[in-house]
Structure formats: structure tokens, C-alpha cells
């Protein structure tokens, strides 16, 4: 094997440009695959982190009637905060959120909104809830950038908000926008207005009621609460996983094409080598190689392209990948319209597993592609090969 490696190295170096063209194509595959996979991993990480930071914390209890995709259920999806949760809420380990339907009237247009009542002193979510504690003379509210853009509201604006209390009576009041936050989490921003929890409970006559109980990220095992459904962070981010998986399928097709292109180049070189180097093959056999050893040599030679490609990819790919991890990849289109937790700039994350898997896949594929045409050598007649006669 050592000898095969040595000879393969000499042969590839001696082949010059032919070798380097293959190596460049293959190294390109390495870098692109790692970069794109890294971007996916980065997106996955960013989406989950943002969701935890701005929406779901370490997990949630949902009122049993709550269905975020059906606003009509909101009227009945609230209940008094259970006693088991009160201690945690008092200690700041849990956050009660009341969710009701409402409307606002920016510039005279009616716009349906979800009103969320949240404790101004919470620190479980990275929402600017501190801004809800600053205006005693009006109902303070904050919104996300997405909502601000849609309703053309900004900090300092007053807007009329209408809601229904628990008896179905409509009421309305002016709210003051005290902050606008940006989170990359559409569910936390789109069509949502945050106001103080106590105020919303008063407005809806739902004293001590909540729809969602969000708890801090910890290893504590969560008990079931009667009338509430436990949603772990894994369950709540499951959709992100599904989405990434769906995206990955499309991406894998691209990797496949990239690898096929590189493998075609290697396969072509191998086939050509076996035709052009018949005399050399015969010489190896005459000098004491068995035919199978020559097959091994040619296979190693082909597979060594992947090794060179990995080295070349490290030379130009490593700085590129590190630079990308630092500055990120800014999407050319507005990602806020995507309807999923996606930052405008994705920061690729490269794991050891990703790099090792990519290298292994390319290595194994290259070795197989190199071996297939080389098998022909095993059937060659050495005396014909020595004369360079095509077989």
C-alpha cells in the first residue's frame, strides 16, 4: 500500500495539468458542499436559537384549547394560572402570556391583530418588555419590525386598539408604541402586539388568566398540568427540523450534481489512463507487479485526487469558509416574507461531523469511481499491454 501511494503520488505529480484540473473540480465540490451544509446548519441553529429567545423559551404549556393556527379558538383558550405554576412565575422561572384577538386602526384602516399580555419584568424571552413599564399615562405596547412595516407604525405612535372582553363586549383604547424589536421569528412578530399582562387581564376581565406558560430553558423534568398541554422546545422546533430536512433534500440533489461532475472527470481520466497507459501497465507487470496490484495502483491514483482536492480545498476553502462564518451570507431577498424563522444574514456553522462526512463521502465515491474502470486491467494480457496494443 505504501508503495502504491508513493507511485500514485509520483504518477499524479508527473501527469501535471491533467491531475490538477480534476483536483480543482473536486476541491470545488468539497468547498461548496461544506459551505452549503454549513449554511443549513447555521440556519437551523439560528432559527432554533431565535425561537427560544423570542418565542418559546425552554418550552411551553399551552391551554388545551389553544391552537395558534385557528384564531377562533382564542376566545376559549385561556384559564386561571394553575397553582403549580405560580411559584415559578413569582421566581421569574416561568412567564404567563394571555393571548386574545383584537384589531388596530392605523391610518384609519382596520387590521386584525393578536394581543399578547406579557409581564414587563420577565427576562425569559429577549423581548423588550421593559418598555411596557415606562408609560403610566397610556397603554404601552411594543411590536416587531415585521408588524411595524406592515402597519407603518413606529415608536411614539398612538393607534386605536379594539378588543372584546370575556362577555363579548367590544371596547377600544389608544395604545402607545414604546418599542419595535427585530427577531427574525415571524411567529413572534407578525400581526402581534405586546402589552402588559395585568392590563390585558383587566381589559378582558380575565383576571389571573393565561393562554401560554413559557418556562426557562433548564434540565428540569416538566410535569403534566391538568387542562394544559406540555410542549417541549423539541416539539415546538420540530417544524424547523422538518423544514430544514425538506430543504436538505433539494440541496442533496445539488451535492449529487457537484459530486457527479467531479466523478465524471475522475472516471474519464481513469478510462483514458487505462487506454493510454497500456504499455506502462505491461511494464509494471513485467517488473514484478501482479495485475491486481496494478488495479490497486490505479485505484489509489484515482482516489488520491480526493486527497489532493482536500488539501487544495483547505488552502483556498478554509479562509473562505472562515470568512463566511464571520461575515455570514446575506440573502439577496427579504427573508421576513418567508414566513419562517430565517435571518437576513445566515452564518454558516461547520461541525467536525460535517467536514469528516463530506470528506469520507467524496473519498469513498472517488475510490469507487477509480476502481470501476481499473478492473479492466485485471483482464489484460500483459504481453499485449507491453506492446501498447489496445485491448
Amino acid at each position: 500500500m505504501k508503495l502504491a501511494l508513493k507511485l500514485a503520488y509520483r504518477n499524479l505529480m508527473g501527469a501535471g495539468l491533467r491531475t490538477w484540473l480534476n483536483v480543482i473540480v473536486l476541491s470545488f465540490s468539497f468547498v461548496i458542499i461544506i459551505w452549503m451544509k454549513g449554511a443549513m446548519t447555521g440556519w437551523d441553529y439560528q432559527a432554533k436559537t431565535d425561537m427560544k429567545n423570542y418565542e418559546i423559551g425552554g418550552g411551553q404549556y399551552w391551554h388545551e384549547n389553544y391552537d395558534p393556527y385557528d384564531p377562533l379558538t382564542l376566545t376559549d383558550s385561556h384559564a386561571p394560572i394553575p397553582g403549580e405554576a405560580k411559584n415559578e412565575i413569582d421566581r421569574g422561572e416561568m412567564l404567563a402570556v394571555l393571548v386574545v384577538q383584537g384589531s388596530i386602526f392605523p391610518q384609519g384602516r382596520m387590521q386584525p391583530v393578536i394581543i399578547k399580555g406579557i409581564d414587563p419584568h420577565q427576562n425569559i424571552l429577549k423581548l423588550p418588555t421593559g418598555s411596557l413599564d415606562t408609560v403610566p399615562e397610556a397603554i404601552p405596547a411594543f411590536i416587531g419590525t415585521m408588524m411595524a412595516n406592515n402597519s407603518r407604525l413606529s415608536v411614539g405612535d398612538y393607534v386605536t386598539m379594539r378588543w372584546r372582553d370575556t362577555h363579548g363586549t367590544f371596547d377600544a383604547a389608544e395604545i402607545l408604541i414604546t418599542a419595535v424589536f427585530s427577531s427574525d421569528v415571524p411567529a413572534a412578530e407578525a400581526g402581534t402586539i405586546y402589552i402588559p399582562l395585568k392590563k390585558l387581564q383587566q381589559m378582558t376581565l380575565l383576571d389571573n388568566h393565561a393562554t401560554i406558560l413559557t418556562f426557562r430553558d433548564s434540565d428540569i423534568s416538566r410535569p403534566e398540568l391538568e387542562g394544559w398541554t406540555l410542549k417541549t422546545s423539541e416539539k415546538l422546533t420540530h417544524q424547523v427540523d422538518e423544514m430544514i430536512r425538506t430543504k436538505s433534500v433539494g440541496q442533496n440533489v445539488l451535492y449529487g450534481i457537484l459530486i457527479i461532475l467531479a466523478m465524471l472527470a475522475i472516471f474519464d481520466t481513469q478510462v483514458l489512463s487505462i487506454f493510454r497507459r497500456q504499455k506502462e501497465i505491461g511494464t509494471y507487470i513485467a517488473l514484478g507487479y501482479t495485475r491486481n496490484e496494478v488495479v490497486g495502483l490505479f485505484t489509489v491514483e484515482g482516489a488520491m485526487h480526493a486527497l489532493f482536492a482536500a488539501v487544495l480545498a483547505t488552502v483556498y476553502g478554509l479562509p473562505f469558509l472562515l470568512w463566511q462564518a464571520k461575515v455570514g451570507w446575506t440573502m439577496p431577498i427579504d427573508t421576513s416574507e418567508f414566513g419562517m424563522a430565517m435571518a437576513q444574514t445566515l452564518y454558516p456553522i461547520y461541525t467536525v461531523g460535517l467536514v469528516v462526512t463530506t470528506i469520507l463521502i467524496v473519498f469513498i465515491t472517488t475510490a469507487i469511481v477509480s476502481y470501476i474502470p481499473s478492473r479492466k486491467i485485471a483482464k489484460m494480457n500483459p504481453t499485449e499491454a507491453l506492446r501498447g496494443k489496445l485491448q
Binding site: 507511485l7 511494464t283 491486481n292
Partner: protein, 235 residues
Amino acid sequence: MEIIRIKNLTKRFPMGKGEFTALRDINLEFGTGEFAGLIGPSGSGKTTLLNIVGSLDVPSEGEVFVLGKSIGNLSSREAAQLRKKNMGFIFQSYNLLQVHTVFENVEFPLLLLKYNATERKKMVMDALEWVGLTDKEKSKPPQLSGGECQRVAIARAMVKRPSLVLADEPTANLDAKNSHHILQTMEKLNRELKTTFLFATHDDKVINYLHRKIYLLDGRVDNEEIVEHSQIIQS
């Protein structure tokens, strides 16, 4: 000591629906240090015989023993071992590895025999000195003349000091001056190292150097001639 023994050798090749007999009932023996040649026109079977002796091909009938081993009964691995350890090959078109340097070409058989780097270096330089190419060790075959390429091939064949060197039309691509040069080199190595040389040729220049001439015609031994040492010197 006997190096090669050929007993009732017949070699047939399939041709269309029938067979073509390249060698018929050949019986020959070669001892250590012989400088012998198989002489004959194209198609007389000399290269076929050389290939069988070189364990690159097998007899259809009869037996060929090289260094006591029956060629027809060797596995491909055993045949490769025999070639690797005991045989050197010199070809008409040199068959050098084009992308390797002169040094690397000559070093190749030693790599197969797993000599260490120091030994290899010394043996390669010795071999290049025998053929007068120490100054070309870093050159590659495309940078050499035909005569130089064949001298590299001789160095490659001789570097491991094999018992037997098989040379198939070694001067066919060389001019007279280069032919004489490499033949003198081979004769010198034969004399000094007692290596057995077996040629396949129809070149008069080579024939004049041979100590033993075996004439083949249509696959049979037509004639055999032993040349006295004094005659060779005269020639």
C-alpha cells in the same frame, strides 16, 4: 548452473475459429552467464518464447523451468515474484515510466523489493554509473535520446542484479553507434556480474555480439551456433 530449461515447448494462440501455433516442440537449456540470442524473422516465435521464459505467458504444451520453477504451474503472484526477484526486462521501445525521472525509473524494481532508501540510492547510482548516465538522474525520459533511454532501461533491468535479463529487440530503435554502445554495456555487465542475457533479435549488430545463437524459423529451432570467444573479439 542451469538457469532455463525448455522441454518440448509448444505454444498455440486462438485465431478466428482455429489456432495458430507460434512455437513447436522447442527444447533448449541456458546456463549462468550465457549471452545468448533467439534469432529469426518476424513471426518466427522469438518474442513468444521470450515472454514464456519471462513468465508473462504460459506454455500450451511442454514445460519451461526458470531457476527451477515451472512457468506453467506458477500462480500469477508466484510469477510476479519470480520476475520481481530474478528477472530484468529490456524492451524495444524502452518502456520507461514517462513521468518518472531517470533515478525513479531505475529505482522502481528496488521499491518493489523493499530496499531501504540508502540502499536504493547507492544501487541506483551504481547502475547509472554502469551505463554512464549519472549526470542524467534527474532527467525524464522525454528529455533523453533513444540511446540514453535504452541505457536507462538496461540500468533498470540490472539494478537488482538479476540472474536473468530478457531483451526483446533492444537495438531496433537505435542507430549503429548507440546500438554498439548499449551492446558493449550489456556484454560488460554479463562478463562482470555473470548475469545471463537472452535476446530476441534479428539485428545483425546484436547477432555479432552473441556467444550463442539460436535460429528460429516458423516456431521451430532451425539451427544453433556457439561462438568461440576469440571469434567474438575478432568480430
